[in-house]
Each structure stands twice: as C-alpha cells, then as structure tokens.
C-alpha cells in the first residue's frame, strides 16, 4: 500500500504548509472540522463534479481535480443575515407594502453580497404574493439549519442538503468581499470524495447512479430554495482544488464505497440515506487513518478495535476498549517517526555528511536543515547548535504538528461518527453508538444474518471486536474475560433488538435484520 509505485507526489505548491509529513502519509488533509461539515464538503465536491459531468470519475494522486462550489449568497443572507425580518413583519401591522419597503431598505444596508451581486432583494416581491409568505418560506428553511444553535458566523452556517442550491461552500467576510476558509471545510470531506473516486468502477457506477438524483436542480425541494435566489442557477465561487490523497489503491477505498453503495441501494425516500452516510463517512475515514498508520509500521491490516457496548459499570471489556483505543491512537505518532526515519534520515548523503569529521557542527546542522527543506518542505527555522539538537527538535516539531493536525482530526472523526466516546468515563474508548450500529447494519446486512455470523463479519471487515470469540483471538489473556465479553455480546444483541434490527429466535439464536431490505 505504501509502496512508492502506489503513490504519486503532490502536484501543487506546499508553500502554505509548515511541513509535508502527515500530508505525505494520510493526505492533504485530515483535520478537525465540525462533524456535519464532513458530509457537506463531500457532497459539495460531488455536486461540483456532477456539474462537470465527472461525478466519481477516476482520479490519481498526482492529479488536481478542481471544481466550482456554490455560494448561494442571496439565500444565505436571507436565512442567516436577516435578523430583523420577523420584527418588520410584526411592526407593519398587516400592511404588506410597508413591510416590503422597510425590509428591502434594511436588507440594502445590512446584507453582504460581495462584488458580483447587488444588495437588492426586490426580485422577491414578484415571486411572493405577500411578505408574510416570504417569511414563512424562510422560517421553513431555517428549520433545517445544520447544527442549530452553533455560534458560527452567518457565512459558515449551513442547510441540510435538500438540493444542489442548498450545498454551498464555507466562506469568511473579507473587506467588501469574501474569502474561502479551510477552517470549516478542512478538505477532509474532499478526501472522502477522492477515496470514493478511486474505488472500483462497478461500485462507483452504482453510487453515481444513486447519488445523482440528489443533485438534480429540478426537485421540488431545490426549487423551493431557488425561489430565494434571483438567478436561474446559484452564484458560485472560483474553481478550487489542491486536495491530495497519496495512494492510488487502498483497501479503505473499496470498503467505503461498498458501504456507501449498500446504503444508497436501499432506496430510502428523499435524502434519508444521508443520515446514515454521515456516520459511515467518518467511520471509514478513521479506519483509513489507523490502517494507513499501521501499514507504515509494517502491518498492512486494520488494527483491531475492541468495542464496548455501553455497560452500566466498568469491566474488562471497558478496559480492553480503552486500551485498544489508546494503542490505535498511538499508531499515528509512530508512523510519523517511521516515515521520517525512512524518508528523511535514511539518506546516504546525509549520513555521510553528518559523519564527516572535516565539517564542523554548524555546517552539519546547516546541511541537515537544508535536507529537511528538501525532503519534507520544512518552513520553520529551528534554533539549534548542532545537528543532533536539530534532529531532536525536528522530531518534536513533527510530533506536535501531527498531534494538532491529523491526530486531532482523527479523534474528531471517531467521536463524530459515534465510534469513540467518553460516555460514563473520563477516557476515550471504542463504544459505538446506536446510530453507528444502525448504519453498519444497514450497510452490511442483506438477508437475515445470524448474530455470530454478523459479529464475525464485523470483525473480518472492520476488525471490530464485540463478542467473546473474536476477543479471544485478538486480546492478550490477561485482558480477556469470557463472561464480560459474553455480556458485551448480549448487550449488543439487546440494543439491536430494541432498535428493531434483530430478532431473537431462542436463547441460542438471534437474527440481525436490515429492516429496510424487506422491499418487495
């Protein structure tokens, strides 16, 4: 997987990165973002590609797939930068004319539409019979605000993706215009898109077919949104790209694509499948992260994930779940070290130079500093008296960079998707939520599957450990307790039965069922 033939170097400039280490291992980049932004960014890119007729077309690491995202500025002003609307409606005391005039004036002063659009919302008068009708549509749309109550500014507030016009990019106000921000859409959603674009073609075709209707501008929901936008198509920003996923092939790509395709094939009404895709995207990105790290450390399989199904009190399962999380959490930092050893410090010329007795310490340090710039595009000038000190400082720096960037991003993914939580304790551990379990059942179960077969499947596919059989194979003897893991398995079945995802036939037989599969 990490073989040089399976990767291609980054195509773009690395000027804006402090160094190119995590990026070379996991891509540019996995970083913390509000969890909801993951799917919105993913869908935004997919929609942009759809318009270019390139939805899920094959990509390579060395390419730069660019797209243009919607901005939908009028819509966003109406929804999130329109605080006086209700007050104006009230104060007009039923006079429609007064309300329109006052409101249009207020919007002219307060709305922020950048260089290309005028703050003139009078087109709405022709579209709505009354001001009250406009207000009711805006109220309706405001109800599907993503993460309601978040303190984000109006330019980074989003709508549930009910149509292409409701999918727009995160921006920040800058002077009279706007600039793109990579703090909310951190490219992690684009990484998810790129992963899918490198899955096998039959899967991509399936996903393409099922995803495309969500980008159809003619649906009633999208037309409802478009009623608030003056032009026949939403306004858009500049072309964007620069996201990098290092590997041509990776087991995580196919795994993600299979699950996404399975959920989309359930033919759920409207956008209901997004509800399940969201946790799955996070889950698979996290798996990609730890699997890649593990591979850099010499084991190209997923590391095992011991899951506690929320227990009333601490037992050995919880200990194992905490331990398993900590272990996997540590893989990344070791992978970074390994990467640096292989790609930076194993260089023969470097070794020769550092051992050259004819050179003084300063010269050796200078050489090393240049070498770091060459190999990992290090920007920062590090104070050091000699090469040894610089090496140490550099390792620490790389570790910090990883901790604040990719590691933090992975934690956000794992907690966001519901795989990891602190519920009932003060430490992170694998304790999948009911929502994640539901998504996994929907993605993996076609015909009724006996419980132990399902547990085996979860193990062989995601290396998730829930029941005693898998635990025995994965855990060290002192971590393993048959009774505790049996209870864990019982809780698992109990949760699924409660959610209508399983049916107990007898003490010794429970079927896991996908309730959405019973389509005739």
């Amino acid at each position: 997987m990490i073989d040089p033939t399976n990767t291609e170097p980054y195509f773009g400039s690395k000027d804006r990165n402090e160094a190119w280490i995590s990026e070379a291992i996991w891509g540019h980049r996995l970083e913390r973002q509000p969890f909801s932004a993951l799917m919105l960014e993913f869908l935004g890119m997919a929609e942009g590609m759809f318009r270019q007729d390139k939805l899920l077309a094959d990509t390579l690491p060395g390419e730069n797939p660019e797209y243009v995202a919607n901005r939908s500025l009028q819509l966003r002003n109406l929804l999130f930068n329109n605080p006086r609307m209700e007050e104006i409606l009230r104060n007009a005391h039923g006079s429609d004319e007064d309300a329109w005039v006052e409101w249009l004036r207020v919007m002219k002063e307060g709305a922020s539409l950048g260089e290309h659009l005028a703050a003139d919302f009078s087109y709405l008068r022709g579209r709505f019979d009354t001001f009250g009708e406009l207000v009711s549509v805006i109220r309706l749309l405001r109800r599907i605000t993503v993460d309601p109550g978040s303190e984000r500014s109006w330019t980074t507030q989003f709508l549930f993706p009910i149509g292409p016009a409701a999918l727009y990019e995160a921006i920040l106000e800058k002077g009279d215009g706007f600039e793109r921000t990579r703090r909310v859409f951190t490219r992690t959603g684009e990484i998810a898109y790129l992963m899918l674009s490198r899955a096998s073609e039959p899967l991509r075709a399936k996903i393409r077919e099922r995803l495309a209707p969500s980008f159809n501008p003619a649906t009633s929901r999208n037309r409802l949104v478009m009623r608030l936008i003056s032009s026949p198509i939403p306004d858009r920003g500049d072309s964007k790209g620069g996201t990098y996923l290092p590997y041509k092939r990776h087991p995580a790509y196919e795994r993600l694509a299979e699950d996404v395709a399975a959920v989309l094939c359930l033919k759920l009404p409207d956008q209901d499948s997004f509800q399940y895709l969201q946790p799955l995207l996070g889950f698979h990105l996290y798996l990609y992260g730890i699997e890649t790290a593990n591979c850099w450390l010499g084991d190209c399989r997923l590391p095992s994930i011991t899951c506690e199904i929320l227990a009333p009190r601490s037992d050995l399962v919880r200990k194992a779940a905490v331990g398993s999380y900590l272990q996997n959490d540590g893989l990344g930092a070791m992978a970074v070290r390994k990467f640096l050893k292989t790609n930076v410090f194993s260089d023969l010329d470097l070794a020769k130079t550092l051992e050259n007795p004819a050179l003084d310490e300063l010269a050796k340090k200078e050489y090393l500093a240049e070498h770091l710039v060459r190999t990992v595009s290090l920007k920062k000038d590090m104070e050091a008296t000699d090469a040894k000190m610089l090496t140490e400082k550099f390792y620490n720096f790389a570790n910090r960079l990883y901790r604040d960037g990719t590691a933090d991003g992975m934690t956000a993914l794992a907690t966001g998707c519901g795989l990891v939580s602190k519920r009932g304790t003060n430490r992170y551990r694998y304790a999948p939520t009911d929502e994640l379990l539901r998504a996994l059942v929907l993605a993996n179960v076609r015909t009724p599957m006996e419980e132990s077969a399902f547990l085996r499947h979860l193990h062989s596919r995601y290396r998730m450990v829930v029941g005693p059989k898998e635990a025995k194979a994965e855990l060290l003897t002192y971590q393993f307790d048959e009774t505790d893991f049996k209870r864990n398995r019982d809780r698992f079945a109990q949760h699924l039965i409660g959610m209508g995802l399983a049916q107990r036939m007898s003490d010794s037989c429970t079927y896991i069922m996908n309730p959405m599969e019973s389509q005739t």
């Binding site: 037309r223 956008q271 209901d272 132990s452 959610m499 010794s508 959405m516």
Partner: protein, 611 residues
C-alpha cells in the same frame, strides 16, 4: 435420599423439571431415566407439532425431508421417537443419536435417516465437519432439491443448525449451500416449506398459549395428586403446606387462565416459551421455597422440616411463580423468568389501586371493593404480617430505609397476588394491567386479538386510537386524539424529522379498502397493521410493545421521552412506509400542516413558482 411413598416419587419427578441443577430434565433422555428409576410415567402430552411432522410422512409415500428445530427442551427428540413409533410400530433405539428405518410404501421402499442428537453425531476435525457427515448432509440436500428414495429428519436446536452449517468445509458443494440458505431463510422468515420435499418445523413457532395449556393439564391433572388425600399426614402434603396451598391456588380457573394469558403475552412481545421453560415455571411455582436448600423443596427430611416451620406464605404462589425464591442469576438464566420480569407485574401502580390496597379496609367507600378484590384469600397466600406493616405505614412509624424497602416490596407482592387471583372481569373493572408495564394489555387481548380470532376487524374506536398514536409519532405534532385518518408527512430534511409537517397524503379509515386495518395472517401469529395508499400497501407487526406505545402516545405521552427505543422503531417503520407506499412531495407546491387547537389540521400551501 431414599424415596418412599408414591406422592414423594411424584414430587421427585416434578422437581426434576424445576430450576434445579443445570441440565436435569433438559433432555428427553434424562427425564426418561429419572421416570424409569422412579417407576412413574414422565409428564406427557401430544405435541401440537406432532401432526406437522407426521404429515411429512403420509401413507402414500410422498415423503418430505424435515428439519425439526426449536430450543432445548422443546421436545424435538421426543417427537422423533414418536415418529419412529408411528411409522414402524416399534420403539426407537436411539443409539448414537442416529436412527435409520426402512418403510415399504405404495410407491416403493423408502429409507429414512433420523439424526436427533447432532452434538453426538457430528465429529468435527479442525473445526470442520468430517467428510462422512458432510456426505450425509449432501445426500439430504440432494433429496431436498431433487428426487430419490432416501429421506432425512434432522432434529437440531436453532443455534446448532447455524453451527453445523458454519462447520462445513469451504469447498462444500453448491447444493449444500443451497440447503443452508433455504433453511436459514425459512427459519428467519418464520416459514416452513421450500418446494415439496423440504419442510422446516420450528417448534418455537407453536403458540406459547398452546404449550401452556398442555403443560398445565399435564402437571395439574396427574392422578398422583391424590397424595393430598392419601398422604395428608406427611407434612409435605398437609393442607397447610405451601405445596398444597399453591396447588389449589394454581388450580383455580382464574390463575390457570391468567397463566395462559401470560403465555399469549409472551408470543405478542416476541418471547417464546418453550415446553421446558413452562414446566420449569410450574414446577417451581408449586415446589419453590426460599428456605429449601436449593430453593426447591426436596421430599423427605427437608420437606418435613420446612412443613413444621409453618411459614408457607413465604412460598406463596404469587412469589414462586415469579421466581422470588430463586437467586437473581438463576432467574436471569431462564428465558421464562426474563420474560416475567420484563412485564414488571406489581412494580407499577396507580393512585386508585394503592389507595384501595392501603386504605381499603379502613374506608367505607372502598370497603366493598376491598372485600371483593383484596381481602379474598381462600388459600392463605397473603403475608399474615402485611396488615401490621400497613398499620405502621399509615401511622407513619416506618422510618428506616430497610423497613421502607420491605414495605414497598410487600406491597408489590400484594399487587401480584391480587393480579393473579383476579377474574377477567376484575382485571377490567380495576384496570389491573396498570400494575404492569403494559397498561393496555387488556385492550390488546380483548379488543384487538379477540375480534381477529372471531374473524372480525377490531372496533373502529380502537383503530382511531391507533391512527391517532401514529399521527402523533409520525408528524411530531399534537394532533387529535381520535383520528379518522392517518396523516403521512415528512420533514423538509428527513422523513424521520422529529417534527414532520410537510403533508404527503392521508389514509382514510373509511375508504374502501380502508386506509388502516388490522389483520392476522394465521391463528396464533402476531397481528399486522396494514396501511394502504392507491394500490400500494405497507404492513408491520402490531406487537404488544408497539400497541402500548401507540396507545400511550395517543393518550398524551411524549413519543421521544416515553421510550426512545420505541420511537426509533416507529421512525424506521415510517421510513419504510413512505418508501413502500411510494409517496412523494408534489412538484408544484408543498403543503405545510398547521394544527388547530382541537387537533384537527389545516394545510397551508407553499407554491414553488416556475422559474
């Protein structure tokens, strides 16, 4: 322990069915041994599935292959023995768990191989089935999907069935895999026939109610109970013994029918009560005693000692029936007690009932009801100390936490006693189901199941209540509590939005065919709700928990705060319902639902202007 009298032998046998050492009486083989040792017949009845099995081997010779499945103690082995006897008129040999018999039929000789002890039969090598056994299964698959004169009966509990197929070698032939998928499909879907040469008889599908009736008769109608007359000098059988009191209590029509009712509840809540579980329940109900060494009375010295103590009320039926004499672990192991504890009988209550229990004897207005319902205690089941506790409670003398706990536990036990001995009429009059988790169980049994059994639809009133519950859960709005139609609505973002007020369609209860109906596929199965729109329909099982949830929501409970699990269940039903009824928002306008004060709705159109 030397067993002497006839009565004691009978108790010794009955005890063997109880919650004593783990595996006793689990297997037909064991009971046979015990029964022959004691020289009295084991408990027996004609199993309801017997006909299903024998039908597969008609005199014409048109046989089928049969897989007989069910939980341990369901009677699989006994049924195989009976089949052998019915076909050959000779007793099964039963060696090594395999039996081969040859029958001459009008269409030629037939060979039948019965495998009724899979654990003994299959010897795994490296975790896989041996070649020889794979070959047997292969022959079974060939016969199931092809022709041939050889037939098989495989008796296996459902967990083992999966294990056997899991232990097939990876290169197992295609036909065998087909057998696997067919059987698992039949099992999971609750069906029985695949083609005309393969039948799955799942004993767990036999209604628990039937099993309960048969077990009650098998236990209570034994001639050995004459011991109460013949051996009355034995403290175990004296009139004041717990056994005698419990036997007489259990034998009243109220208690017997109550147990049958509970068995029905088991089926409609997704629990099946296997024969062994029911026998265990009855055995413990009669013989359980907290003072016995292993919590079940053993005839002999122990029984005598316990009898002398005179604390029969400690082992009263309303305690032993729920397993109060057993340890928590012992109860938790058994599905039947898990089921009973899930019902929480006696743990819930209403103000009216508590008032009656506590002040009934002291209040003129309540006196008549109290005498009818609470004071009745023909077999001295009530804790004689309870009145004293009650007095202390009323006076406010109960202060310590221990005593409070004791009082509450005794009050709960008292509720259980009254619940058990109440007649059907009393259940209704005093709303006694309110002391359980299923407040609406009586409505479910009497107003939904009963009419369906008579081939009629449940009354409109109840359909309206269900419709109203569905409306409130599925729209998240406080709609009228007696609806005439089911509103199908969606949220702008998700169909499962907590508030779904975009109107899609409405299903009229009065339409032809009705938009909402309750039907039952076959006797004993869980009824189904059918929702119809245009020519599409969507069905879901109306289990008791779902019915309870709908009723409570219709009565005003908040869907998501009452039970998150049930709420999620109904959300997933809604998703499927909207998908299967193929309902879409109109492309010209959206209709928002606005609720009037009365709970009726108004539709506010939002036009989607053409651009």
């Amino acid at each position: 322990m030397a067993v002497r009298t006839k009565g004691e032998k009978w108790i010794r046998l009955l005890r063997g069915y109880g919650p004593v050492a783990d595996n006793e009486a689990m297997q037909a083989e064991h009971v046979d041994k015990l029964a022959s040792h004691l020289a009295i017949p084991k408990l027996a009845f004609a199993h309801p599935a017997r006909k299903l099995l024998l039908d597969c081997f008609p005199p014409t010779g048109a046989y089928r292959n049969v897989v007989l499945t069910g939980t341990a103690g369901e009677g699989k082995t006994s049924l195989c023995f009976e089949l052998v006897y019915a076909l050959t008129n000779s007793v099964a040999k039963g060696s090594n768990g395999v039996e081969e018999i040859s029958i001459n039929t009008p269409i030629g000789p037939r060979k039948i191989t019965l495998i009724y002890d899979v654990t003994a039969w299959r010897k795994k090598t490296d975790g896989l089935l041996s070649k020889e056994h794979v070959a047997v299964l292969e022959r079974m698959a060939e016969s199931s999907f092809g022709a041939g004169q050889e037939f098989f009966v495989l008796a296996v509990n459902d967990g083992q069935m999966h294990e056997v197929f899991r232990a097939l070698p990876p290169d197992a032939p295609e036909l065998l895999r087909r057998l696997e998928t067919s059987l698992i499909g039949l099992h999971a879907r609750g069906e029985s026939d695949s083609g005309d040469r393969l039948r799955l008889v799942n004993l767990s599908m036999v209604p628990s109610e039937e099993i309960m009736n048969l077990c009650l008769a098998a236990v209570l109608e034994r001639p050995e109970w004459q011991c109460f007359e013949e051996e009355r000098d034995n403290p175990l059988f004296s009139e004041s013994s717990s056994l005698s009191r419990n036997y007489r209590t259990l034998n009243t029509p109220e208690v017997r029918s109550k147990l049958v009712m509970l068995a029905r509840i088991a089926d409609v809540t997704g629990h099946h009560l296997p024969t062994r579980g029911v026998l265990c329940l009855l055995s413990n109900a009669l013989l359980g005693h907290p003072d016995a060494r292993d919590r079940v009375i053993r005839p002999g010295a122990e029984a005598t000692a316990i009898g002398k103590e005179g604390a029969a009320h400690k082992a009263a039926l309303h305690r032993t029936l729920f397993g109060a004499n057993l340890g928590v672990n012992n109860r938790r192991k058994r599905e039947i007690y898990r089921f009973l504890s899930m019902l929480h009988i006696g743990d819930e209550t209403t103000n009216d009932l508590d008032e009656l229990f506590i002040f009934g004897s002291r209040d003129q207005e309540l006196k008549a009801s109290y005498d009818e319902l609470v004071a009745t205690d023909p077999f001295s089941q009530r804790n004689p100390d309870f009145d004293n506790l009650l007095k202390r409670y009323i006076r406010g003398d109960i202060n310590s936490e221990d005593e409070t706990t004791l009082f509450l536990a005794e009050l709960a036990a008292e509720r259980r006693r009254v619940f058990l001995q109440a007649s059907n009429l009393q259940l209704q009059k005093y709303s006694l189901w309110r002391i359980s988790v299923f407040h609406h169980a009586r409505e479910y049994l009497d107003e939904i199941l009963k009419p369906l059994e008579a081939g009629k639809s449940p009354a409109r009133l109840h359909l309206r209540k269900l419709a109203s519950g569905l409306n409130r859960i599925w729209t998240g709005l406080l709609l009228a509590d007696n609806a005439n139609e089911v509103y199908l609505a969606t949220g702008l973002d998700l169909t499962t939005s907590p508030v779904s007020d975009i109107y899609l369609s409405q299903l009229e209860l009065d339409a032809e065919p009705p938009g909402l109906a309750i039907v039952r596929k076959e006797a004993g199965s869980v009824p189904e709700v059918v929702l119809r729109s245009n020519s599409n329909e969507f069905r879901f099982q109306l289990t008791l928990p779902r019915f309870e949830f709908l009723c409570r929501v219709a009565d005003g409970a908040m869907p998501s705060s009452f039970s998150r699990e049930s709420c999620a269940d109904f959300m997933s039903l809604k998703q499927r319902c909207l998908r299967d009824l193929r309902l879409k928002t109109s492309s010209r306008s959206l209709h928002l639902i606005d609720v009037h004060g009365s709970g009726s709705i108004q539709r506010l159109p939002i036009h989607i202007a053409e651009q």
